[in-house]
Amino acid sequence: MKNLSAFQLMVATCAILVIFNGCTGGSKKERKNEVVVHELSDTDMLNPVNYQSADAGYYAQKLFSTLMIYDPKTLELIPYLAAALPTVEADTVTKITKYTYEIREGAKWDNGTDITAKDAEFSLKVYKCPIVNNEQNKPYFESIYEVITYPENPRKFSVVCNKIYHINYEISGDFFFLPAYIYDSKGLLEEFPLKDFSDKYDQLAENPKVKEFANEFNSDKFQREKGFVIGSGAYEFDSWQPGVKLVLKRKKDWWGEKYKGENKAFDINVDELIYQTINDQTAALVALKGLKIDAMYGIKAKDWVTDVTQSEKIKEHYQLSTPPSMAYTYMGLNMRNPKFSDKNVRKAMAHLVDVDKIIKVVGYGLGQRTVGFVHPSKKIFYNDTIKFYAFDVAKAKQLLADAGWKDSNGNGTIDKMIDGQLTEFNITFTYNSGNDARRDAALIFKESAREAGINVDVVPQEWSIYIQNQKNHNFEMYYGAWISSVGESDPKQIFHTESINGGSNYCYFGNAESDAVIEALRTELDKDKRAAHYKKLQAIIHEEVPYIHLSAPQERIAISKRFQPYETSPLRPGFFEETFKLAE
């Protein structure tokens, strides 16, 4: 009867599983004042300086505070830890700019001590400290040189930058304040003034105290241990089950409560923020329909159109919205490629891309066509006088013929003598493998290019190879996208000729005129004058066509109707769950 016993065991196992399930199925917890936000993947860490993943940045905003934040509605900077927006003094001769702040009265660390100018200086030291693992954002703080403190007012200080640069206004208030009593309990960095981190960087890298601090700061403890991830934000780190969920809890006596109502930064209503990881989009949508998730962003366009907006259950329980997201997609052309060196050929390419069709078919209509690198919602900087390149195969053919491209050998593909060689117009179009939307967009282009006698070979490349090829200018045409900041962008990294070698000017764009505009823009502190430069640059880029600009996609967001109607924002990720108010 031994075989029976094995079967018995099996049956018993199944029975236990079923019984256990019975237990969980029935007990639905009473929901507290909490928000469950879906995340596609787990964050990397909670260290506000060293993090790499975007969601880590969102969490840092709840745990730590910066001097200013962007208002989700107006997209203007508003004071948070600072009592007011900074006063700016710029010396056009010495190029020294000073941004003077005063920290809010009553702003305190969790141990009850006041947040002062000293803390600003310490935090900036950490950002600029050698060996600290933040190579990706160190250059961002390069222009910050010094912090001036004022003995008569410990809450007042000036951030000094040693050059004039329009983004410095934002940078000077865009760093997380770190409590020195937690992050540098031994006071290792105390003796070094902030300017040493610019002037004597290499020396400091060898200093044993700096080394000890940096290694400690990089350690696991400050990435994810309770009691070591502490800031002056409204929430504290409660628990983290890696790959499963992260919980942040509202602080009991947060210093910011007394400023409630003053601006969006202090509009805190939720007791507990729960970030639930579900890798698979299908499973996440099932969880959404099962009402296990309160807020979800980044829903795939296809699912959004075919499932989410069609489901009665979702429509009954969720508010759906599609705010614009600060990003743009484009097709990049290698301007040094002999085929694309003629401006008219590039314009012909632009006429061959049916952008509206791509937005409609590939993007399911969830995007807005853009003219350039400025997001259309930034109205003062966006150049709305530029006309889109119309989809016009005949015009493209004409432009190509004018540029000398004709089908001389009658094989159906246009050709031209380049450097004494008959060159057929065959191009390779690359995109990152797995991104089917980009592939489909490329195929739409391929079809219309064929009508003009051009052969397009659409080639997927593994991500790391794809970006390496762009950096090395090793491409003919590619599908790309940039995520831009909410604030003003610095076009230098993408469009200045100095960024060809080492920067992100993959397409070899630029001439003396465009460089001059970019430089003028970077050193112009008057917003309206700067806007004129932005518009001019967009016009030049439109005329030169290094990029065929496609669209600014729209975010896809579902928020539970357990909460009062919420207005989503172009600010990533599109909503601020801590400000949700429970519906009556």
Partner: protein, 490 residues
């Protein structure tokens, strides 16, 4: 037997060494640069954050140094006399490629290196020239021309770049500062051209790199062996239990593996247990009932299961049983978010609910395979004479099957059993993804995509070791199950 085991264990050492070396070389020669990826943030995403692109050469070089990527690969390198002994010090991959091709063309690395350094100097000189309205466009041309030098080994391109630069410098007196550096670069290039030692390309040579190489650092470490060192930049090496720090997570690999291995091992162990508990009796049963309708029905059923892909079944189960539009039987994710202060049974029941669907996916496919093996083994044994003898002795059927036949029919199953060990930590990329289980499959997969070498190496090494252990154990089990198999010399 003991000597046999010892001998086998000793053979582990060279095997592991060879596999580690192979993995190491394969990985380092794969395209993609981890330092670039790290500065770019997003992996597999739709683009980078523009502000991060500010990261210049300085950040890049610092990062490479910290990761130990500036070291040569191995203790020695086979190449030819001409090849560069200090090429690995040049951090930019594209520059390295150009120089490598120049070396192939001319065979004089010393001169080529001098040419490269003069080009670098020229670039710096150009960057130092003050910009104003009269120089801007000329400077752009100059910078582009220098960039061409970095990227092209082609004589025609190099010469036309020189010509372009000379023309610009000659035209504009403000650019005269660049003239000496330009002449030096042109001279250096002419030296390269005029003193070719192409014959060196055909003479093999061995370059010794000493212990300061990436492989040594990874395997044995560069920290001192017998004295304590506080320097956290030094690695202790794999053999001393230091698996390195993940490039991406910036955490010790051992911690990452430790966090993931729990989930994977729990699921694998339960899955393996269920598979064996079901398949073996099933195999025996179908063997005994060979040819009957019930045997045929079961076999067909098992093959149908076997041919259904688990990721599809997984997704279907989530959609239909996960509480979306249909039945709300099981939670759609594989790991329960339990609170540590919940009572034990609550936690257990929650975990069981979460694990049901993944476990079904993990197991159903192997029923067919394993029970077929068992059935085949059993059938072979049941035909033997001694089984007939046992039956004719009047033993009842279950005694015949379980006492006399079962043990002898286990050999094929034991062979399969050896793969259990690596499977225990291997996980499944697809199923872990579908059910959001932060296990080893996902860890390994993402590490490969992110070029996170330390993690990839550790995961590979662990499965290597466990595979070897698995084979050893199955060899021992053969002897245990079948007394005719013996490893000791008679």
């Amino acid at each position: 037997m003991l000597t046999y085991v010892l001998k086998r264990v000793l053979f582990f050492v060279p095997t592991i060494f060879a596999i580690s070396l192979l993995t190491f070389i394969l990985m380092s020669s794969a395209p993609g640069d981890p330092a670039e990826l790290m500065l770019n943030r997003a992996v597999g995403g739709d683009g980078g954050q523009a502000s991060d692109k500010l990261a210049g050469d300085k950040a890049y070089n610092m990062l490479r140094k910290r990761l130990g990527l500036d070291l040569p690969l191995f203790y020695f390198s086979f190449s030819n006399l001409a090849s560069a002994d200090s090429l690995h010090k040049i951090s930019k991959i594209d520059h390295r490629k150009t120089l490598d091709r120049l070396t192939n063309d001319y065979g004089n690395w010393k001169e080529i290196e001098a040419y490269y350094h003069s080009a670098k100097k020229l670039e710096l000189t150009i960057l130092d020239i003050p910009k104003d309205s009269s120089t801007t466009s000329a400077l752009i041309t100059l910078r582009n021309a220098v960039n061409n030098l970095y990227l092209s080994p082609n004589d025609k391109v190099i010469r036309s770049s020189f010509a372009e630069m000379e023309q610009q410098v000659g035209k504009n007196s403000q650019l005269a500062a660049a003239s000496p550096a330009l002449n030096a670069t042109v001279d250096a290039y002419e030296t390269v051209r005029q003193s070719p030692t192409t014959w060196k390309n055909y003479i093999p040579a061995v370059h010794l790199n000493g212990t300061k190489n990436q492989y040594h650092r990874w395997l044995l470490g560069d920290a001192p062996w017998f004295s304590a060192s506080d320097d956290k930049m030094l690695s202790k090496g794999f053999v001393r239990g230091d698996f390195g720090t993940s490039y991406f997570a910036k955490r010790p690999v051992s911690t990452l593996v430790w966090e993931s291995i729990g989930y994977t091992m729990t699921i694998s162990l339960i899955a393996i247990l269920i598979t064996y508990l079901i398949s073996i009796p099933l195999g025996v049963f179908t063997a005994v009932k060979k040819g009957t309708t019930i045997d045929q029905t079961l076999s067909t059923g098992l093959f149908v299961l076997y041919s259904m892909p688990s990721f599809w079944i997984g997704t279907m189960m989530i959609i239909f049983l996960g509480g979306g539009d249909f039945l709300d039987w099981f939670p759609p994710t594989g790991v329960a978010d339990v609170d540590a202060d919940d009572p034990f049974f609550t936690r257990l029941s929650m975990q069981a609910a979460h694990l049901t669907m993944p476990l079904i996916c993990w197991t159903y496919g192997s029923f067919a395979y394993l029970s077929r093996q068992m059935r085949g083994g059993m059938l072979g044994v049941l035909r033997q004479d001694y089984i007939r003898t046992a039956r004719s002795k009047g033993l009842n059927e279950s005694a015949v099957v379980w006492k006399h036949a079962f043990r002898n029919s286990l050999l094929p199953v034991i062979t399969i059993f050896s793969s259990v060990f690596p499977a225990m930590i291997g996980g499944s990329v697809v199923l872990e993804y579908i059910f959001t289980i932060p296990g080893m499959g996902g860890l390994g997969f993402h590490s490969v995509l992110r070029r996170d070498y330390p993690v990839v190496l550790t995961v590979t090494m662990f499965s290597t070791i466990l595979t070897l252990v698995g084979y050893l154990i199955s060899d021992i089990l053969y002897a245990v199950v079948d007394p005719r198999i013996s490893y000791s010399k008679k």
